[in-house]
């Protein structure tokens, strides 16, 4: 029942629902500045993180070597 919803949820892309919960209508979520101090998530160490490696956008973490986005995503 969740699968349709889950496919649109990706790291680096903060939905309006999560923004509402966090109380941040726009811009980088609060953990981006913490990542500047403690480093990137180990699981995503090879990805480019907007707000950290590039200017902030809400389009998701990206492969830092190629500009290839997930093939699972339609």
């Amino acid at each position: 029942e969740y699968s349709n919803d889950l496919s649109s949820i990706r790291p680096g892309k903060v939905s309006s629902e999560l923004r509402k919960a966090l109380g941040i209508p726009e811009g980088a979520p609060p953990w981006i500045s913490i990542m500047k101090d403690i480093g990137k998530p180990p699981a995503y160490s090879s990805l480019a993180i907007p707000g950290l490696d590039t200017s902030y956008d809400n389009d998701g973490y990206r492969d830092s070597k190629s500009v290839n986005t997930s093939k699972l995503h339609e």
Partner: protein, 103 residues
């Protein structure tokens, strides 16, 4: 197939890579928690126990990551995060108390 909300067999669970989270506002959903946690690492399992009749969560849940390192990182970075104004309570999950003894 995405089955992050389906409980894996006990033998495959990794308690050391699991976190407890609580002090959740009733507005917080499993999807919101899923979205929050995957910002820091992929998940193996997420569960927020529901009231059998009301179908609402009871203000807490558990999340399991693939590795201990992922769990520790999420624990570090989510300290102090507020959802709907309520500070998230988050800590390492405790192993279920069983009758096993090493003595």
């Amino acid at each position: 197939m995405s089955s992050v909300f389906r409980r894996p067999p006990d033998a495959e669970r990794n308690i050391d890579a699991s976190l407890y989270f609580g002090n959740l506002d009733p507005e917080v959903t499993e999807l919101i928690m899923y979205e929050l946690f995957i910002q820091f690492a992929p998940l193996r399992y997420l569960n927020m126990p529901k009231d059998r009749i009301l179908k609402t969560h009871q203000g807490y849940g558990f999340v399991e990551f693939r590795t201990v390192r992922d769990a520790d990182y999420a624990l570090d970075i989510l300290r102090g995060v507020r959802l709907y104004g309520k500070q998230l309570k988050i800590k390492k999950a405790e192993p279920p108390k069983s009758g096993t003894s090493s003595e």
